[in-house]
Amino acid sequence: MAKMTMVEAINMAHAWEMAHDPSVVVLGEDVGTNGGVFRATVGLQQRFGKARVQDTPLAEGLIAGTAIGMAAQGLKPVAEIQFMGFIYPALDQIASHMARLRNRTRGRLTCPVVLRMPHGGGIHAPEHHSESLEALLCHHPGLKVVCPSSPARAYGLLLAAIRDPDPVMFLEPVRLYRFAKQEVPDEGQALPLGCCFVLREGSDLTIVTWGAMTVDSLKAAEQVAADGVSCEVIDAGTLAPIDFDTILDSVIKTGRLLIVHEAPRTCGLGAEIAATVSEQALYDLLSPIRRVAGYDTIMPLYRLEHDYIPGVARIADAIRATLAE
């Protein structure tokens, strides 16, 4: 079995589902001839034709809104927003319609759309190309939000997202697109949405993270392991609805929680996780919950982006500080 990158696994998931479900269609800017700016849809138009892989005009609101009309007609659109920083024009459609169509029609019309978008920074991209806006989406009832952290999980979760009967925002960490190769069996096997993935088992402290920060969190866990600290690292995987059962079980076991995300700290998803764990497991905690997050600043241009993105050192320090409480 060939090893592949995350972006190749995403491409493979598209191809599997398009081959097995004729209602799956792909649309977005540059997704056809060009195969997407990250090549996530490369070859799909050649293989499945121009009717099923549609290049759209350059208008994110149109892409999201068009997908709604297509979905209500029984298609399963998988639409690409070129970068998450460009999602703002599409938010009206996502929040006002995509998230609400099932509810406002009492289930008469539904919206099985996948909106894919590169998430986060770290690849020396221009302004507005490196945002982590998952909290914006998680705040909207009716949406599901997914963020894979490996080629295999990207493949399995994208299949699940396409098969899901409700709109799924699929956040693809750009730093991981070509970060590591992994064997991914192309067998059409979906992974469950709404389930965390325990990437490393441990007993002293639980790290909850997602997307590209899983890599740094695992490295930090490895680093402190040398000092005899045992970290459990949980990849949230699905950010909405988030699997609090797994998180709470882990925190009750370890007694300590560190949340790591790239998005700004204030009103980030980490705050929600911390609040819920406080409500439900405060007396199991041995030390205060900590967050390692992006600063509450504008994502800087790329010369400073690695100063913005929390790195292994910040995570490792936070682990040690939590253990020292």
Binding site: G65, I68, G69, S96, H97, R108, T110, P141, K144, F244
Partner: protein, 361 residues
């Protein structure tokens, strides 16, 4: 001057079949020989107005929420409905009850919706039509998407979208018609130019001479029509629908009408427009004009008019009675339609809502 040529030019035709009194301006389309169809359309206009009057009264007496009257738009709304095929899909703003009624949406549905109950969007017939769209202009990409789905599946159908004069200032309007032009989508867009977007007149929305010409930039054929002329609405929209369904691409139609009512029951139009202007517009309103036309053709008489009014009133009163007797949804209704499957967190919140709902009863 050398190097100066005209690279593009355009004309926007204006079309009408009837004059202000309902007299034909010239030879009429062949389909107007179908007297029963004309009578049906007229009856639906009266039905819409009867409902509309009642709905405003219900709001005034605290029995309905904020309601946007369709007074004066009946010819455009019913004409569009009558131009569509049942398997086409309709995307409205929030005023087009005449079109919805034509397509089989129940009076009760409209009352429930404006009465604060989502069950008013569960259309038994017209099951693919979208519900009212409150965020202005945002319905347009949905219509383009439905049209794209029809095109991908090679279906002989079309999407019909309404938008208001104010709506044409929204980016979503241009994005959708632009896309429809690029892909030659089976989309018919009807701009209902009723001259006022709440207090803002068309002259403050755009410097363009017509709203129809906005379609020129999208490469789409455009026409302006008398929106108070039932015959021309059905004729021009019908031709556009047939063209779209047969692969001929999109059309934008600007229907000139006038909002004779306040914007909604929360509005007071006397703050921004003169009584003279409204009186002049009322002279051109569509129902009397259509009745004049039918009477002159021998298709309608006073006895039928009285019978229709009585029947419409009776029908509306029956729907109102049913609406007022409909109990509100349980609090579960807030949770049960968010996703195909309830999430664990929502299940807990649903329990909480049940508990407090029980306490308040």
């Amino acid at each position: 001057m050398s190097g100066h040529t005209i690279v593009a030019h355009f004309e926007i035709p204006y079309r009408a079949c009837l004059d202000a009194d309902g007299a034909p301006l010239g030879p009429l389309p062949a389909w107007t020989e179908d007297g029963e169809l004309l009578r049906r359309m007229y009856r639906m206009m009266v039905r819409a107005r009867t409902f509309d009057t009642k709905a405003v009264n219900l709001q005034r007496t605290g029995k309905l929420g904020t309601y946007p009257s369709c007074l004066g738009h009946e010819a455009t709304h019913v004409g569009v409905g009558a131009a569509m095929h049942s398997d086409d899909v309709l995307f409205t703003v929030y005023r087009e009850i005449g079109t919805k009624f034509w397509r089989g949406v129940e009076l009760l549905d409209i009352l429930l919706y404006w009465g604060g109950d989502e069950r008013g969007t569960v259309y038994q017939r017209a099951a693919q039509d979208f519900p009212f769209c409150v965020p202005i202009g945002s319905q347009m990409p949905h219509a383009a998407g439905a049209a794209l789905a029809m095109q991908i599946r090679d279906q002989r159908r079309c999407a019909v979208a309404f938008i208001g004069d104010g709506g044409t200032s929204q980016g979503a309007f241009y994005e959708a018609i632009n896309f429809a032009g690029v892909k030659a989508l089976p989309l018919v867009c009807v701009i209902v130019n009723n001259r006022w977007a709440i207090s803002v007149p068309v002259a403050a929305q755009t410097a363009a001479a017509t709203l129809a010409q906005k379609a020129v930039a999208a490469g789409i054929p455009a026409v302006q029509i008398d929106g108070n002329d039932l015959l021309v609405v059905r004729e021009v929209v019908g031709a556009a629908v047939e063209r779209a369904r047969s692969g001929g691409g999109p059309t934008v139609i600007e229907a000139l009408t006038y909002r004779l009512s306040d914007h909604t029951t929360s509005d007071d139009a006397t703050r921004y427009r003169s009584a003279d202007e409204v009186a002049e517009a009322r002279r051109l309103e569509p129902i009397a004009r259509t009745r004049n036309f039918l009477q002159a053709r021998g298709l309608w008489n006073e006895a039928e008019e009285q019978a229709l009014k009585a029947a419409s009133t009776e029908e509306v009163e029956a729907a109102v009675k049913q609406y007022l007797a409909t109990p509100k949804q349980s609090t579960d209704a807030m949770f049960d339609y968010l996703y195909a499957q309830l999430t664990p967190a929502l299940r807990a919140q649903r329990e909480l809502a049940r508990r407090y709902a029980a306490l308040s009863h």
